[in-house]
């Protein structure tokens, strides 16, 4: 079936933009991804390491799809690239000759680059681009480009061709000077009418400045004739005062305007500019799209603006965390050696100053940037591996916000290593240390004494700031932004703006980390998809008809070798002849041809034209073959050969074609080719139904998101009603009541024709794989049923952890947050009878038994405290915390709470508050604690004690295992990758969302649900699930069933069949890593396309050349 293809626009090609685009593309939409920068990747392309792996993971994301336009009209200003990416071979000769040097933004200005440069040094394939702002258009690069990839002269004003027609040379010359030399247009001149017409018929022009009074043929006549040759040509008449009427008549026959001679440049230039701008407009890209996803992200706070108390830019060796990231990087200024900028001395003592431009009303940031704490911890950890164990890191922080999944453990592990020191405090400012390049900083320690220490380097953990272009974009689209410039969303959603069809991903709706950005991106993508889907631009069926290639499996290898030649010289020719002769020795090589400059358009044509009738394999030898990577399929088509039968090897153009390395590469290529056999696509039929386990807000949101795409959903809920935790929650921190939202959601689920709700039901068993699962479901008082589905989403949620700490259970006056919430909700709380309330945070959290932060408790405490204050302002409320985890915009509520006079006491896990219950008419609870600020004991008489006990997972191990998913050590859903694939299990087709992933707020839970739905749809939207191109297979004749391969497979893609007779591989799960092939002693397990013989051949080839 062939449906109308929906299309979407994604603005911003950062990690979120890419994620959203990939999701939409995989759901079958055409996606246009737009970004200001000349490269993709956003800020993350500058981060080489992310915790917890301290390795980069962008490679763990899938490639990008581009496409064309349904409802929104968007106009993108597309700056045509002066370097043709298809031709650029990245040789860098252009950069060598470029005279312009500018600070390299990629290395956060730590290094310099030319105006023509590689935007991301470590991209492959990598093509140069020109910094239009810095480029002086001197043109030096154009001639040196070996492939003619640079079309600078054909760019911008140079591309705008003006023809000046006047018999007076003075006029011609001055116009040439003004328009050509000054303004940079391309100006040609004609001294007479005929000459003008000649030029017009020779080449296209955009504007003609035409004199009226000329001997022979006058201007009017030229105009008439010219309009025949070039109808689109714009003409401005130049006239003497006497002949103004003629000029006016000329305008009747197509001239656009006239100038009265003599005229000043000021009179002419604007007219020309106007015509030029109109001409440029035609370069704009018009798009009609069904939905828009905004992912323009945030920028880093610039500490040098305003008061600049940190002396950034003035005090040496004070850098931002981003600059530090580049300093650590292998592609950074010091090639991965950690040296400080001022004198390149190795850094041994560094300090991180947190909350620079965050949680700082002075710099207008009443929010927490969320990422900096983990960022600093990670940088400290990585720095130790880069700079050695004698590296001393000091992190000076206000609250250590390890709020996310696995953050707390990562943190503990980092700061428990000696060499990493945490100091609670706040550094206000940095002054230069006279006569030294070291940096001295001063702060008041938690215990109150003032510390002054000297460091080699100080890193400012700069906060996130709303992107400057966000406001403009928001205005264009008519959506709101908050006081900080972040895009406002509708209640209970992090990604829906008030405008239907416009969604926001990533950090655009508030500061957040990579994982949440990726989640929001996927959420935004799936919501965009819903909009388009409702508009009829449904999901497309992948028409999986691969271009029919010739079947060569039965033929002996006949190889055509194509060698590329850069320059022609006697010696190269003889070398090439020698090489050809040598290659021809191999009976498998039937033909060797030499072509010129395959890297150029002509060369490439020559290549595609090459006759391949007699051959069934092709080897191309040329320099920088990676640049052909993206063209390989095109070549395959023109040769009618499967791409795997076409091999390209790199010839080093700095040496002769007979250089050992080159010969070795070619020989190796040949023997690889000899042994390859075209790999047939294997795929799996997809069952077009999803199973969602858990009927809380996450489960329901996921079910709705999927069902809205016309895919049926079975929603299984253990209890007798839907709603999960929302059934007892009263309102959100910003006062939005929960009940209406819950009722509405349940209503939608019940009404939805595509959703089958099974309450009182549990999944008791399951097997299967991505595309086709079988689940057995047990419903109270009914026979068990089996559901077949293509994907499963685990939304089993979590519950408030029980506790018996702080005398809970012994007194009515000691409650958990949930118990308080319920009392409020059921209106069973007499606030007037109370004078004071104490709240204790982190009860059993961030240490055994729950060594993680439950994330929601701090905002909840603020929510409840503020609610109580609003009820009775006289009420004294005391919050006892370890680190207030009010990340992102929640920080504002923290500030509000303090303004409201709510008192906060910080306590350390080794010095917990003590609680005693009083009897009789005494105030029921006494809380004793130590106030670190006063370094003195405090005793509080409380009418109510509220305990934040955190959240524990409700994901049963058996359930996870039934679907081949795993639980992390805290019993939550183990994601495939904590940042890049946050809602899916390593086993394909199994997803998790909501609290099952980790504790989170309602909007966050909804986001994960929609993200999981989106990811699931990428499977459910297709009829068959294609497997990876290269997978491992088993040669059963050789297999001894020792099962080493099964044990060793990291993806669990291998299993022993039911009969226990054969080892099977699930091609959808196999990632072709080759671990099994290594473990198997007799090559019963091999990775397709990597047979021993071809490997030996490659080695042999290399040896031959030696």
């Amino acid at each position: 079936m062939d449906q109308k293809i929906g299309s979407a626009l994604v603005v911003g090609a950062g990690i979120s933009g890419i994620r959203a685009s990939i999701d939409l593309a995989q759901m079958g939409y055409r996606v246009t991804l737009a970004d200001r920068a000349p490269h993709m990747g956003g800020i993350l392309s500058q981060l080489d390491y992310q915790f917890p792996t301290d390795r980069c993971g962008m490679c763990r994301m899938l490639p990008m799809v581009e496409g064309e336009p349904d409802k929104f009209q968007v106009t993108l200003k597309q700056a045509p690239s002066p370097v043709d990416p298809d031709c650029c071979i990245g040789c860098g000769q252009c950069s060598e000759v470029c005279p312009v040097e500018v600070p390299d933004a990629f290395n956060a200005g730590l290094t310099h680059r030319k105006a023509v440069y590689l935007p991301v040094p470590h991209n492959i394939p990598n093509t140069y681009t020109i910094d239009q702002a810095a480029c002086t258009r001197c043109g030096a690069c154009e001639p040196v480009c070996p492939t003619g990839a640079i079309r600078l002269s054909a760019m911008g004003r140079r591309a705008f061709r003006i023809l000046v027609v006047d018999d007076e040379s003075i006029v011609r010359n001055s116009l040439d000077a003004w328009l050509g030399d000054e303004e940079g247009y391309t100006v040609e001149m004609a001294a007479s009418g005929p000459e003008a017409l000649e030029k017009l018929s020779a080449a296209p022009f955009h504007l003609m400045l035409l004199d009226i009074k000329m001997p022979g043929m006058d201007g009017v006549e030229v105009l008439e004739k010219a309009r025949v040759i070039q109808p689109a040509l714009q003409v401005v008449m130049m006239t003497a005062y006497a002949t103004v009427e003629t000029a006016v008549d000329a305008m009747k026959i197509g001239a656009m305007d006239y100038l009265v001679k003599p005229f000043e440049p000021d009179a002419l230039i604007p007219k020309v500019a106007a015509v030029y701008d109109a001409f440029q407009e035609t370069g704009y890209l018009k798009r009609t799209v069904g939905a828009i996803v905004l992912a323009t992200g945030t920028t880093c706070f610039d500490p040098s603006v305003g008061k600049n108390p940190m002396g950034y830019g003035t005090v040496p060796n004070v850098v931002t965390s981003l600059e530090f990231e580049r300093m650590l990087s292998g592609t950074g200024p010091d090639a991965g050696r950690l040296c400080r900028p001022s004198d390149k001395r190795p850094v041994k003592r560094a300090a991180w100053i947190q909350c620079v431009g965050s949680r700082d009303l002075q710099s207008g940031a009443d929010f927490c940037s969320t990422i900096c704490c983990m960022f600093a911890l990670k940088e400290a950890a990585v720095a130790r591996t880069v700079a050695g164990d004698d590296f001393q890191a000091t992190i000076i922080y206000m609250d250590m916000r390890t709020f996310g999944k696995s953050f707390e453990r990562y943190g503990q592990q980092t700061w428990s290593t000696d060499g990493v020191r945490l100091e609670r405090g706040r550094v206000h400012s940095i002054a230069p240390t006279p006569g030294s390049e070291d940096v001295a900083i001063r702060w008041t320690s938690a215990s109150g004494e003032t510390r002054e220490e000297i460091f080699d380097l100080v890193v400012l953990s700069v906060g996130q700031r709303a992107n400057d272009q966000t406001a403009l974009l928001a205005e264009e689209l008519g959506i709101d932004t908050d006081g900080f410039g972040f895009v406002r969303t509708v209640p209970f959603s992090d990604t829906r703006t008030q405008r239907v069809g416009v969604f926001a991903g990533g950090t655009l709706t508030g500061p957040t980390d990579i994982a949440e950005s990726v989640i929001r991106a996927s959420s935004a993508a799936v919501n965009a998809s819903r909009t388009i889907h409702r508009a009829g631009g449904g999901l497309v069926e992948k028409t999986a008809v691969p271009d029919a290639y010739r079947d060569v499996s039965r033929e002996p290898p006949r190889i055509l070798v194509v060698l590329c030649r850069c320059e022609t010289s006697a010696e190269t020719d003889s070398d090439l002849d020698a090489l050809s002769a040598r290659l021809k020795q191999d009976p498998a090589v039937t033909q060797v041809v030499v072509l010129e400059h395959i890297c150029t358009a002509d060369g490439w044509n020559a290549l595609t034209q090459t006759d391949t009738a007699g051959v069934n394999r092709v080897l191309v030898g040329a320099c920088r073959t990676f640049t052909y990577g993206k063209k390989a399929h095109g070549l395959a088509a023109s040769f009618g050969l499967d791409p795997s039968l076409i091999e390209s090897v790199a010839m080093d153009d700095r040496q002769g074609p007979d250089a050992p390395a080159t010969v070795a590469a070619i020989m190796a290529g040949i023997s690889r080719l000899k042994n390859v056999s075209a790999i047939e696509e294997n795929s799996i039929a997809v069952t077009n139904r999803a199973l969602v386990v858990g009927g809380g807000i996450a489960g329901m949101s996921a079910a709705l998101a999927i069902a809205d795409h016309g895919v049926d959903v079975t929603l299984v809920e253990e209890s007798e009603q839907l709603g999960g935790n929302l059934t007892w929650l009263h309102q959100t921190i910003d006062g939005a009541p929960i009940a209406p939202f819950l009722d509405d959601t349940i209503g939608q689920v019940d009404k939805h024709p595509g959703i089958l709700v099974m309450t009182d039901s549990r999944v008791v068993g399951a097997f299967g794989q991505a595309g086709h699962f079988f689940s057995t479901i047990e419903t109270a008082g009914e026979p068990t049923t089996t559901v077949e589905h293509g994907a499963v989403i685990l939304a089993t949620g979590g519950r408030e952890a029980p506790t018996d700490a702080y005398a809970h259970g012994t007194s009515e006056a000691v409650v958990t947050q949930r118990e308080l919430e319920t009392r409020i909700h059921e209106n069973r709380l007499d606030t007037d009878a109370m004078k004071s309330v104490v709240m204790i945070q982190c009860v059993g959290s961030r240490e055994a038994p729950r060594n993680y932060c439950s994330r929601v408790c701090c905002p909840t405490a603020l929510k409840q405290a503020l609610w109580l204050k609003s009820r009775s302002p006289e009420l004294q409320i005391y919050i006892l915390y370890r680190d207030m985890m009010t990340c992102g915009l929640a920080e504002a509520w923290y500030t509000e709470a303090r303004k409201q006079g709510i008192l906060f006491f910080q306590y350390r896990p080794d010095r917990k508050p003590e609680v005693s219950i009083n009897t009789g008419d005494k105030v029921p609870v006494s809380v004793r604690l130590h106030d670190p600020i006063l370094d003195a004991p405090v005793e509080i008489a409380a009418d109510l004690l509220v305990l934040a006990t955190g959240i524990e997972s409700r994901l049963p191990e058996a359930l996870a295992l039934a679907y081949g998913a795993e639980r992390d050590q805290d019993g939550f859903f183990q994601e495939a990758d904590s940042k890049w694939r946050p809602v899916e299990a390593l086993k394909a087709g199994v997803f998790g969302c909501g609290i099952a992933l980790s504790p989170r707020s309602i909007p966050e839970a909804v986001a994960t649900a929609e993200a999981a739905a989106g990811r699931a749809l990428t499977i459910l939207a297709v009829e068959r699930l294609p497997a990876a191109r290269t997978t491992a297979i088993v040669r059963h004749s050789l297999c001894t069933l020792c099962l080493r391969c099964v044990d060793t497979c990291p993806y669990g893609a291998r299993f022993l069949d039911d009969a226990g007779q054969r080892v099977q591989v699930n091609p959808a799960m196999c990632q072709g890593c080759g671990d099994c092939a290594t473990a198997c002693p007799n090559s019963a397990s091999i990775v397709e396309g990597f047979s021993h013989r071809s490997m030996f051949g490659a080695i042999e080839g290399a040896l031959v050349a030696m």
Partner: protein, 382 residues
């Protein structure tokens, strides 16, 4: 449950004692068949034989220095899949170790076979054994003579012409057996002791209602210690010799120069478990062009090719599982001391992984199983 029982010995005749013991085992422990070294009816030689008729045990001879094949392979054949009966096997310590490796590789199962082990003073190479056996008029005489020498209070191993694998073996006691029969340091006038090492062993012994064992002979420890001292010494010399000889590619080629790709060593190797070896697949059947290429390059190429490569590959595949039984040397038609080389390499590879081939069933073999963190630990990046 019985831990150990006493095997009665009359007039110092161990062989008869052992035979009657296994007869009791077959009758009392419900064993359908027992794999035990037995005389060939056709010729005066010994081979592992699956005996179902207790009467045939009169020909059994688990004490003979004959070691024609490593029994582990044979036992794997018997236990790979359910056999429909209960079996027992009498194996040398190195055979038990090899079998354990095969069990880990799913090539055999221990669940329904009772493994008996007998203290092993060592064995002779096939050719030496033939000579030795022919020097005595009856096989029993030969075995008795051997035992007399091997189990004397201070055995002179030089006179025993044991294989170098045996002389360098440092696991002469059958610790991996379900039931172990102790011979070292026992007073030949008194009886022998069979001790259970596993639950299965205990159940069997219990069923035999034989008298419980007497106290462990005092000299047992000292005898074993002395023997190990001797062997470790020998082993050390052997390793230095091998190291000197094979330190370079040239040296190694020289060491293996006589190889003719008969693959006997591979066939004889108990832990070489592949049904079809990669060396007999198409992988090594090169194109004629390839041979010509080699010849062109070096001016000549030795045929058969890949002899060195074969041994290196085998080393790569089995050195972590090698139990040093010496059968490779035993099988080589051209007397290449392969076992010396392989046990030398095995010593290092197994050392690297802190692994002891065949010693502990529960210990996972090296390079099976994917360790997420390993990469970082090894290359020092994380």
């Amino acid at each position: 449950m019985t831990q150990a029982i006493h095997i009665d010995i009359k007039n110092e005749d161990w062989l008869s004692g052992i035979r009657s013991f296994f007869t009791t085992v077959m009758e009392k422990a419900g064993i359908d068949a027992i794999l035990i070294p037995t005389r060939l009816s056709v010729k005066n030689r010994i081979m592992p034989t699956l005996v179902s008729d207790p009467a045939r045990l009169a020909e059994a001879d688990p004490l003979s220095p004959a070691f024609p094949v490593n029994g582990a392979q044979q036992l794997a054949k018997l236990t790979r899949l359910p056999a429909g009966g209960k079996m027992a096997a009498v194996l040398r310590p190195c055979e038990i170790r090899a079998f354990n490796e095969l069990v880990k590789l799913n090539q055999g199962k221990r669940d329904d076979v009772v493994i008996f082990g007998v203290d092993c003073p060592g064995a002779l190479s096939n050719s030496d054994f033939r000579t030795f056996a022919d020097q005595h008029e009856t096989p029993d005489a030969a075995t008795r003579a051997f035992c007399a020498a091997a189990f004397s209070s201070d055995p002179i191993h030089e006179n025993l012409t044991l294989t170098s694998a045996c002389r360098s073996c440092d696991h002469p006691t059958p610790d991996g057996a379900d039931i172990a029969v102790a011979l070292f340091g026992t007073d030949s006038t008194k009886g022998l002791t069979a001790r259970a090492h596993t639950e299965m062993g205990e159940t069997v012994l219990t069923g035999l209602d034989l008298p419980p064992a007497e106290a462990v002979p005092p000299q047992q420890k000292t005898v074993i210690a002395a023997m190990l001292k001797q062997r470790k010494q020998y082993r050390k010399q052997m390793f230095t010799a091998v190291e000197d000889a094979t330190g370079s590619i040239h040296g190694l080629s020289t060491y293996l120069a006589d190889c003719v790709n008969c693959y006997n060593c591979r066939v004889a190797c108990p832990v070489c478990y592949c049904t079809t070896c990669v060396f007999t697949t198409d992988t090594f059947c090169h194109e004629p062009f390839q041979y010509l290429q080699w010849a062109r390059r070096k001016g000549g190429v030795k045929m058969p090719t890949d002899t060195l490569f074969f041994h290196l590959t085998r080393m790569a595949h089995i050195s972590t599982a090698c139990v040093g039984c010496g059968q490779c040397t035993n099988a080589c038609p051209n007397d290449i001391p392969l076992s010396d080389l392989f046990s030398f390499v095995a010593h290092h590879t197994q050392g690297a992984f802190g692994y002891g081939a065949g010693l502990d069933l529960s210990q996972q073999q090296p390079m099976c199983g994917f360790e997420k963190e390993e990469y970082g630990e090894v290359v020092g990046l994380n």
